[in-house]
């Protein structure tokens, strides 16, 4: 697509008007229209109320499926997934059948020289943004409109442009993952090993001293890329719940229940020649009777980024100079540490507030110097805390309890109010030439029961197990007899046919046979009933060709499964594990979700201007921003300005 789409013809007056225009967009991940209305009615969101009254407040049609990477890519490109190529958090490579994260890939050097156990790269590695299509700020760039875009999801590495942009969701930690914590414990009840979100290490306390090792980024100069170790020591007071952590140059005293500030760590890759720095925070969960210490995922150091975090590349260092260290990991709230039982609700909440404070601090800096052009700020706290604290007010949630409700029942509302406070600051700076747009990528709903999609496909004869398949849970990659399998689910809402010529072991002929199979599966999925609730767990199934347009439709899942409320895909099924129990209660803290039928979780759209579009959608945001600067939308954008009839 051309980035130099022609400007609409402007007369002298409107030309000047466009030059002075500014557009301010607040992207609030997961803000739900029903909850927003409820809190506004209670009078707890005065700034949102003021904006809704004086401007517009509409529900915003979300993406199919309503998952953040997909939804924000719709915002960024003005296209649906067929145009930008992101269909789910998880994609699979049909040649290997293996899953991978859809947003970005970090690729090692193409050529290297091996000397003993050393690997000398002969070419540079690189990070690749897997989203296609031009971002709206690239188009603004081409028209000379200055932009600042903060923490935009699905923008790692940031796409080339002269605007100031900072990578958001999709940015890995130093280990190359989306967040791997380290937890050290002397509690004999805790087992060492890998958990979903990190590693648990058992340690011993001897003479009030703990010696342990923190593992950093993979050392790509070594055969097998082992993680670079850093030894550290913890000194415990013999009687009081306080400890000193000696980690490289840092010495930090923490009381039980305290977080450290950011610590910059240097990892030696080629001794004396090559090193990388990362930053982490330490939390002393417990000093005695058992020692428990949490170390956050090691974030990419904004002062010396090991991977590209911003455009221009100096921008992230500029932010660091002005604001100090900050979270650079794409999804910084450590929900997985809470799910793995490493952090309690209160501890997770505190960590989550630190993330929000970082995002506000950075945005405040840019807001203070914002004069014209575009300023886009993304905020993750409402989304992540809706996931984790929905059970505190959803009495049907399997993990609801009155005690939980008493302690944390108003937590989510507190985050909404924080956003209202931020909006208050923004409103105070608005002038007549500024268009304010607030949008969320989707709403939210309860996640009380889970559906094991591959379990259902097995039960209905679409997946066949190998004769030598082990005990359940089974695994798509080890236990499936692909020669007799016709369909499989991978990712949060994706269902693929085992298509001949596309999948490595394809069995289904493309064409009429494939179409008939899709229709058959659709009908059966919609007919499914949960005997415990009497509800249909799936309320909608979309065929890719019916809902997507663009050059990447052929990469799409064949069917997009829209779960009904209060259902969602089972935890194991997302990465290809399944069992014979199809419907289960969800007892995890992750109790609210949006990866369901897209019609059930619209987002919000508010503006200080009158919205005239009848059913605004996420794909309308980019054309709306361009139109505010008098720039015609490129032909491949499917949306339209919401301010024009």
């Amino acid at each position: 697509m051309s980035l130099t789409a022609p400007c609409v013809a402007l007369d002298g007056c409107s030309q000047r008007h466009a030059e002075n225009r500014s557009v301010l967009v607040l992207g609030i991940d997961g803000m739900d229209p029903d909850l927003l209305r409820q809190y506004m009615q209670k009078g707890h969101m005065p700034n949102f109320q003021r904006l809704a009254t004086s401007g517009s407040f509409r529900e915003l049609r979300t993406s199919i499926p309503p998952q953040s990477p997909v939804a924000w890519s719709n915002v960024i490109t003005g296209m649906n997934p067929g145009g930008h190529g992101l269909f789910d958090f998880i994609h699979r490579d049909p040649r290997t059948m293996l899953p991978y994260f859809s947003m970005a890939r970090v690729q090692g050097p193409s050529h290297s020289l091996r000397l003993s156990d050393w690997v000398i790269p002969l070419a540079g590695g690189k990070a690749i943004n897997l989203r296609h299509g031009a971002a709206f700020w690239q188009i603004l760039d081409a028209h000379g409109v200055p932009s600042t875009v903060f923490h935009m999801p699905a923008n790692f590495p940031p796409v080339d442009c002269s605007s100031r942009t900072l990578a958001g969701m999709g940015t890995p930690d130093m280990a190359g993952t989306y967040g791997t914590f380290s937890f050290y414990t002397s509690d004999p009840a805790e087992q060492a090993g890998d958990v979903a979100g990190g590693h648990i290490y058992t340690v011993e306390v001897e003479n009030n001293r703990v010696a342990a090792t923190l593992f950093g980024p993979p050392d790509t100069f070594r055969e097998g890329a082992p993680q670079v170790p850093i030894s550290f020591t913890v000194w415990l007071d013999p009687s009081k719940p306080v400890a000193r952590i000696d980690l490289q140059d840092h010495q930090v005293i923490l009381q039980e229940g305290e977080w450290s500030h950011w610590l910059q760590l240097r990892f030696s890759l080629l001794p004396g020649l090559e090193s990388a720095t990362g930053i982490c925070k330490i939390y002393l969960k417990q000093a005695r009777p058992s020692f428990k210490l949490y170390i956050s995922p090691i974030n990419i150091d904004p002062s010396q980024p090991a991977l590209p975090l911003s455009t221009p590349s100096s921008y992230v260092r500029d932010l660091w100079r002005r604001a100090g260290f900050f979270y650079t990991q794409g999804i910084a709230e450590d929900t997985q540490a809470r799910m793995d039982g490493v952090l309690s609700d209160g501890e997770f909440l505190e960590q989550s507030r630190m993330v929000m404070d970082d995002q506000f601090r950075l945005f405040d800096l840019e807001l203070a110097r914002f004069r014209s052009g575009l300023l886009f700020g993304y905020f993750s706290s409402v989304d992540q805390n809706s996931h984790m604290f929905w059970r505190t007010f959803d009495k049907n949630s399997p993990s609801y309890s009155p005690e939980l409700a008493a302690n944390y029942g108003d937590t989510l509302e507190g985050f909404y109010q924080q956003m209202d406070h931020m909006l208050g600051k923004v409103l105070a700076r608005l002038n007549d030439n500024t268009t304010l747009i607030i949008c969320s990528d989707h709403g939210f709903g309860p996640f009380e029961r889970s559906v094991d999609l591959d379990g259902w496909l097995l039960e209905n004869g679409y997946i066949a197990l190998r004769p030598n398949a082990g005990e359940q849970p089974w695994n798509l990659f080890e236990d499936v007899d692909w020669a007799n399998t016709r369909a499989y689910g991978l990712g949060l809402q994706a269902l693929y046919l085992n298509l001949m010529g596309r999948e490595r072991y394809g069995t289904v002929l493309p064409g009429a046979m494939a179409e008939a199979l899709k229709t058959e599966i659709c009908n059966k999925l919609l007919a499914m009933r949960d005997s415990e609730t009497g509800l249909a767990p799936i309320s909608r199934v979309d065929k890719a060709e019916d809902v997507y347009t663009g050059p990447y439709v052929s990469d799409a899942p064949d069917l997009i499964v829209g779960y009904n409320q209060p259902y969602r895909a089972g935890w194991d099924t997302v990465l290809g594990e399944f069992s014979s129990v199809v419907l289960k209660p969800n007892r995890r803290p992750w109790s609210g979700d949006h990866c369901i039928d897209h019609t059930l979780v619209p987002g919000v759209l508010l503006s200080n201007k009158r919205i005239v579009a009848r059913a605004p959608a996420l794909t309308d945001i980019a054309p709306t921003i361009l139109a505010e600067f008098g720039i015609a939308r490129p032909e491949d954008m499917v949306g339209r300005s919401v301010f024009k009839a």
């Binding site: 001293r209 000194w235 013999p238 400890a243 000193r244 010495q251 009381q255 500030h261």
Partner: protein, 298 residues
Amino acid sequence: MPELSYTTANDGSIVEGYPHRAHAPQRSAFLTLISGAFDLFFRPFRAANPAYALVAISFVVGVAAMLVFRYASNQRAMRRIKNRIHAHILEVRLFPDQLGVVSRAYARVVRYTFLYLVYTLQPLLILLLPMLIVLAQLNLRFSRLPLRPGDSFILKAKFTHPGTDAAASLRLPLGLALTAPPLHIPILREVDWRIRANTEGSFWPAVMVAGNAFTKRVVVSSDLAALYVKRERRSWLNWFSAPGERTLPAATPLRAIEVNYARRAIHAGPFEIEWWVFFLIVAFASGLVAKVILRVEL
């Protein structure tokens, strides 16, 4: 042994807002003069990027070193020796096939080179002591970052004998606040206190041991300042490394009192380097320029 008397009793746990600021310990006149001279030199650069101050002092040192060479060495003799070395090298090139001539020429080159080194020894010896003092003064100012208001730091008291740390306590002046209980590390014979600096200034928190107070200067400032990390017992090394810090009396149960100021790196464009690397590069470069201008034989 008593160093300072305090008017407020200490309960041994968290102490905040001690209303008395102790006086700075006395230093010798010579060290005061040296430190004062450096303070004066750096005064114009106090609030600027420390790289500028380092460039200035490195330039002065580089030029001064050349001046010392210019006037403290026998320049005429050095020039003559260098000419002779050049002549003998030429001899080697002109008569490469005459073994006797080449051998004699090499021997003379070695001899004159040695002689040349002897002539450079005198200015080097003159430079040695001032250079050590300069490096020590620069280390005090450029190796560590002063605390800023709001920063936390650790004050460590290290003891000579096991068990003596148990009764140690801390008294803090206004402007500093304890933010965690004291941390005892018996195996290291050490007590650590985590303290927050609330306001700018120079402070003298006191470690109390058996009724005696031992102070340590703490600097909270956004300006360039001399920072003494450690106060310890008298040693010859202290004279260079901490010339402005009074030593601890030999009979005390304390080995040292330390403040963990953060390390400072000098930002020079995209590079982040240690102060001494930066100093050596700039001093060497300015010395080379001065050599040409002053026509110093080196």
